[in-house]
Symmetry: C2
Subunit: 320 residues, 2 copies
């Protein structure tokens, strides 16, 4: 027991995107003794001088000194490269990944949506890529200052180019050890593709409708018309997953609806991005699932309509 | 020729709802010599004292004196009762119609949507009810003051309880004579139900999406995603009409799209209602067509979704 508690990772981590998500998990890893290297953009000077501050429901902490970088060229190759950018930044990956990746590196993609690992896999090969689904509620409230409001668990799964289950790989287990040591709950999934569809059951209706309807989860779930629409959209996600042989039981949909009805009023991450006039992760969460569904012959007209509406709203939002 | 030009209607008209639409057509009829009685609410005192003022693309005119009423009890029975209320006011018809209707009266329903004549027909009988579809662009800009911007034609059709074509009836021809004499273009339709579906091909996508997306016709038609969505929604209207044996050719849909792309930027009537925080005509334009489509087994998921979104937005809009 003592050995386990005192043990620390001998794996080094690179965090690409030190925001609400990457900053939080990276700080947790460093707090637990791991060697962590943070890539920053606008907060670089501040974090280099003052480190990171985490206000967390699990207890506040500060890291006065962190390895902060403004470019990947200054960073060392790392054992695990954590992609914690928004998916709208993934066009940068061909520049960001190669300098950091060695023969034995693993790329951990902590992003929303579907098919997001493919972009990393094209660069480093699928065998090096693990996907992570984060159930985290946190915001960046100032440079280098992150407010962790709730949750934090990650579901990990190994990526394959044909989206087939890969089982529990050695890389997954090693990364899980490090995160668990850092007090992050980890769920190992043998079927990453299924896990991604499961998460989309919530993300597609509520992220999408929160923007189109300018609404919190509570406002949506207390309106009978929207509650029904959310369920219909969830059933379309179910159909799309079914077209790829992944079964999402009705009871899972009901559980998501019940859970959402009971949550405290919540502004979704896509709504926050919209309100801050940041680009929306439309392709990862809507475009790619829609495209896959259509390739498999599944008709999901409501998701298509949501995708079309969001494309319009995102464009208008950033051209004003 | 001289006789025709000088002839004037011997039919009396009651206008229920003296707004942008009822005020315009009623004023045109009175200008042409017909006896017209106007029911007003908030503008009653003003119109009783100052009459009506019409600024029209076809030439401005004033009617310094009109028969103005604050309640139907003071009005005489009329030959033609024009229902020019918003459909959201139709719950008033059981009080408004009976005092005005005689054995020989006709009720002319100048409203948007589908099934709107049924509410009048339940009170006076279908044989007395004619539906009119107005292609009119006008606004009320002050009490008793209407700005007629463009168009103005009306398509008339006789109503039947089973929505079957009724041909061109005597009542339609008589009303057409009066309106034509008043310089209003009239198109007689033997199939009112078909005409209503035809108009919905435009009204459903553009009225609905203009509110959900906070957009003008131009903004919608210059965005490829929304243009495609509008076309897909039009095809759902086409399918719903088809389920009732009404064929709307693809060329008609294309004509509507081309026409809309070429129009000057236009804020739809539903968007104007929304911006003014007035109740939206959701049931007439979305709810009833959806209900009929579903009864006939037609799946129109995009229209259902638009209906659900509008119900939410309308409720939020009027509870703030």
């Amino acid at each position: 027991m003592v050995l386990l508690n005192n043990s620390q990772s001998d794996r080094s981590y690179a965090i690409l995107g030190t925001g609400a998500l990457g900053g939080f998990y990276g700080a947790r890893l460093q707090q637990a003794g791991a060697e962590v290297h943070f890539l920053l953009r606008s907060d670089y000077q501040h974090v280099r001088q003052h480190g990171l501050t985490i206000d967390s429901v699990q207890g506040n902490f500060k890291l006065p000194q962190v390895h902060a970088y403004a470019s990947v060229e200054q960073m060392p190759p790392c054992d695990v490269i954590v992609v914690a950018l928004k998916t709208t930044q993934n066009y940068l990956l061909p520049q960001l990944l190669p300098p950091l990746v060695s023969e034995t590196s693993t790329v951990l993609v902590l992003q929303n949506g579907l098919g997001v690992e493919a972009e990393a896999a094209q660069i480093v090969g699928a065998e090096k890529v693990i996907g992570g689904l984060c159930f985290l509620c946190s915001n960046k409230i100032a440079p280098g200052h992150i407010h962790h409001l709730d949750y934090g668990a990650i579901a990990l799964g190994h990526y394959s180019d044909d989206n087939q289950p890969c089982g529990i790989t050695r890389q997954m287990s090693e990364i899980a050890d490090d995160f668990r040591r850092a007090n992050v709950s980890i769920d190992l999934k043998d079927d990453l593709f299924l896990a991604r569809w499961q998460k989309l059951v919530w993300n597609i209706p509520f992220n999408g409708l929160s923007v189109v309807l300018n609404a919190t989860t509570e406002e949506m779930m207390t309106n009978p018309a929207v509650q029904k629409l959310a369920e219909q959209i969830m059933r379309e996600v179910q159909m799309a997953a079914e077209a790829y042989g992944r079964s999402l039981p009705d009871s899972y949909i009901q559980k998501m609806l019940d859970h959402t009805a009971k949550m405290k009023p919540y502004r979704t991450s896509m709504k926050i991005d919209y309100d801050e006039r940041r680009p929306l992760e439309i392709e990862a969460i809507f475009g790619k699932p829609l495209n896959l569904a259509q390739q498999a012959g599944a008709q999901i007209p409501r998701i298509e309509m949501l995708y079309q509406q969001l494309q319009f709203l995102d464009k208008q939002n950033r051209s004003v």
